[in-house]
């Protein structure tokens, strides 16, 4: 039955090649745009190296400090995290690190600007970096403030050319470090691991950070198991509720929490000074944006489908005259439309590869690694099916309502 439907559908598609071309062009380009957007979101949010343990990781990235006259929102100080984020129950380990900051070096009169991140030793245990030379620095290095650094491949090329860098010294931001490890580049959109150069926190130029409640530090927590995340979030929130204000005259309330990466993005966009991260709002916003974008393509496809009813009038008349129910006809046309959108989706997928590769090469996003994977493919499939149903239901219903006698005489309305 299905086979005969498909055969019939294929015949109709081949009969009017111009229409088929228009439909496929529209469908494939629509799905191409959605696939590229999905791949970009995926590269920001989905768990992948070095964040291989993302499923049981929570982050404290930004907190909001709220007062009667003023507010402050952003990363917090080392002292604050040291006091309120350590020793949470069910947490295996915690890592503290700074936001990446631009840092300048001069090599033989040439200026090199790199992103510098200061981290502790645990950072390298929670995140799973891909080392091409040497290894990470350790908790002992952090304790003794050893001037050691991990750099990425691009930085190695900038400082040392093609040669290996292990053990070699270099200067950055007026300080000297020795390379102990070289890692593969991490895209800038992965805010937690991203940097060009990583050095121990304790090598900071001054040690005042140890006493500061406000600053540019963040923390990631590794839970023992994924199921423990809600309990950990609740415990941290209750600690925040009782935390001492960094400046009681200015701030009376501290808002925020330990977030998954999706929640962190939602908090950044919607709820910088609230306790709840509003992840639901981000999900709704993404779906709305997708629906808004699909509106025009859908209308276009509906119009094309509707105008083709006449093409099928004779066939519909015959099927109706022989007793086919309206539902059977609706099903048939829907399936045909789905096949068409899936075909368009496949084309879009084939085009998405080169488009993403071009985006990566363009250097718009430093070290971008946008790409297709099974997850993106699955999302793409879901989007194509959704699109097919959306654009097929109304025309299919219209077709099934043709009067058999009129349909046989070739009149549509």
């Amino acid at each position: 039955m299905l086979i005969s439907h498909l055969k019939m559908g294929a015949k109709v598609l081949l009969r009017r090649k111009f229409f088929t071309f228009i439909s496929l062009f529209a469908i494939s380009l629509t799905l191409l745009v959605l696939l590229v957007a999905t791949a970009m979101l995926d590269s920001i949010l989905a768990p992948r190296a070095p964040e291989t343990r993302a499923a049981r990781t929570l982050g404290i990235y930004r907190l909001g400090f709220e007062g009667p006259h003023t507010g402050h929102e952003g990363p917090v100080g080392y002292a604050f995290l040291d006091r309120y984020a350590r020793h949470l129950q069910r947490v295996e380990t915690i890592a503290l690190f700074t936001e990446q900051q631009g840092a300048v070096s001069y090599v033989a009169g040439r200026k090199i600007t790199s992103y510098l991140k200061r981290t502790d030793g645990e950072f390298w245990r929670i995140l799973d970096f891909d080392f091409v030379e040497g290894g990470p620095f350790t908790a002992a290095d952090e304790l003794q403030a050893n001037p050691v650094a991990v750099i990425n491949q691009s930085t190695r090329r900038r400082f040392f050319g093609a040669a290996p860098a292990l053990g070699r010294p270099f200067a950055i931001d007026g300080q000297s470090f020795r390379v102990v490890g070289v890692v593969r580049d991490v895209p800038i959109v992965r805010i937690v691991p991203f940097a060009d150069v990583w050095v121990p926190i304790s090598t900071a130029k001054s040690s005042t950070y140890k006493h500061e409640a406000l600053g540019n530090f963040m923390a990631i927590l590794l839970a023992r198991s994924r199921r423990d995340l809600p309990a950990i979030q609740a415990e941290f929130r209750s600690r925040l509720a009782h935390a001492e204000s960094p400046d009681p005259r200015l701030y009376t309330r501290i808002a925020g929490g330990a977030d998954t990466s999706f929640e962190a993005l939602a908090r950044l966009l919607f709820a910088s000074r609230e306790n709840d991260a509003h992840a639901g709002r981000l999900r709704a916003a993404l779906l709305t944006a997708m629906a808004m974008f699909m509106l025009l393509p859908t209308l276009n496809l509906i119009n094309i489908n509707l105008s083709r009813i006449l093409d099928r009038a004779a066939e519909i008349g015959v099927r109706k005259a022989f007793g086919a129910s309206s539902w059977a006809l609706v099903g048939q046309f829907l399936i045909e439309n789905l096949v068409l959108t899936l075909l368009g989706g496949a084309l879009g997928l084939a085009l998405a590869g080169p488009v993403l590769a071009a985006l990566n090469r363009s250097g718009l996003v430093p070290y971008a690694q946008f790409g297709l994977n099974l997850r993106v493919f699955a999302y793409g499939l879901a989007i194509a099916v959704f699109f097919g149903l959306l654009s097929g239901v109304y025309p299919a219903w219209k077709m099934s309502r043709l009067q058999p006698a009129r349909a046989l005489s070739g009149r549509s309305s």
Binding site: V104, G109, L214, S412
Partner: protein
């Protein structure tokens, strides 16, 4: 004629409604992209109000947290010494401290609601030589001077937009600019000068109100240290000077971090940041229009095929092919006019101009007009080919068409 055609359109209202909806949304998308594009173009042609060439910026990370406690006297002293060091260098023509860096994305904003309505303004705390470093163009009054500390009130310099917004046509010099101060500690502010403009966000951003405050204490405002130092270097100074510059500053403040960039570089990256979304929007709108165009052509073709007999009848009754063509295209234009009219009415009565900030009415009108031109051109283009084919069918054949 039009009335008759309206009747024809009305008779096919069901099929027409969906087409109208499609044209409606295409128009909206085109209007948004065209308006934003024209807005950027208009802004680009306005004067910037300062000169960014040969100006360098030294971002100073003093490891003092904004929003934290007021900086210590020692830190203020260090900042003043850094500034003096820069001013003493022969390659530097002038140097000044600033809280907000030109072309950066961060802003300090305050709202004055002492007058008729709230006036929103960006503000910046700067040191004395800021006008020389940035090449500001003073149109009335004076810039800050050495004797200002002795005044019982705080002098401020505004841009022309702010003077107009706060005082209308009146002479702004000497007028009070009231900003509510919850603690009542700040002295009253009086305007001492007007600069032509200072468009901190660069050429692509819209008009805004701007206010300059003088440094209240050495090295910064009342609460914070300067975030960066700006210097005008002698023309022809190369990047090689950067290393020497950083080294000198580093020796004065070993615990701080410095990063030198030229304002030209910052301008380039600010352009990229502002143009990237616009270009993405353009690409998506072009693709949507291409798709809609192809779709419309297909739909028109199919519709005209259905009306073969009607058109044949008209030709048999003596209508010329040109008349037929005119009829079909006019029908489509009627449909388009209906949807475009609806969309325009919707856009005009929405308070979009307020949402988009200071979007001038002329830009919006130009955006709507160019979107109209695009949509009409698209519809005519899409209906021409199918109608030529339809009008070519010989009447005898058309009348027999099933």
């Amino acid at each position: 004629m039009i009335r008759h055609l309206l009747k024809l359109v009305w008779n096919r209202k069901r099929a027409g409604a969906l087409l109208m909806l499609e044209i409606f949304f295409s128009f909206l998308v085109t209007a948004v992209v065209a308006t934003l594009g024209l807005f950027c173009w208009r802004n680009y042609r306005q004067p910037l109000g300062f000169s960014y060439r040969d100006v360098w910026q030294v971002a100073v990370d003093s490891k003092q947290w904004r929003g934290g406690e007021a900086p210590a006297a020692a830190a203020r002293d260090t900042m003043s010494r850094l500034l003096r060091e820069l001013q003493s260098l022969p390659r530097v023509e002038a140097a000044a401290g600033t809280m907000v860096v030109p072309f950066s994305t961060s802003d300090d904003v305050m709202i004055d609601d002492s007058g008729h309505g709230p006036v929103r303004m960006d503000f910046n705390v700067v040191s004395l030589d800021f006008d020389r470093v940035m090449g500001l163009h003073l149109v009335a009054g004076r810039w800050f001077g050495k004797g200002d500390e002795a005044l019982a009130w705080q002098p401020v310099v505004v841009n022309r937009n702010l003077a107009r917004a706060a005082f209308g046509g009146a002479d702004p010099i000497g007028r009070r600019l009231g900003v509510p101060d919850p603690k009542g500690q700040e002295p009253e502010r009086r305007v001492i000068g007007v600069v032509a403009d200072y468009r901190k966000n660069g050429e692509l951003a819209g008009d805004g109100n701007y206010l300059f405050l003088p440094q209240r204490q050495p090295g910064g405002g009342s609460g914070h240290l300067f975030a960066s130092l700006l210097l005008r270097v002698r023309p022809g100074t190369t990047a090689a000077f950067e290393e020497e510059l950083t080294g000198r500053l580093q020796r004065i403040a070993p615990g701080w971090s410095f990063a030198v960039t030229t304002l030209a570089e910052m301008r380039a990256s600010s352009f990229r940041l502002r143009l990237a979304p616009l270009l993405t929007g353009c690409v998506i709108a072009l693709f949507l229009l291409a798709m809609v165009g192809l779709g419309l052509t297909g739909v028109m073709w199919q519709n005209l095929l259905q009306r073969t007999r009607e058109l044949g009848l008209r030709r048999a009754a003596g209508a010329s092919r040109a008349a037929l063509l005119r009829q079909i295209v006019t029908e489509q234009l009627l449909l388009t006019t209906l949807s475009v009219g609806l969309a325009t009415a919707l856009v005009v009565q929405l308070p979009i101009s307020r949402l988009a900030g200071a979007l001038p009415g002329a830009v919006m009108a130009a955006g709507l007009a160019s979107a109209m031109a695009v949509i009409y051109a698209l519809v005519i283009l899409c209906s021409l080919y199918p109608s030529v084919i339809a009008s070519r069918v010989p009447p005898a054949e058309a009348l027999r068409f099933e």
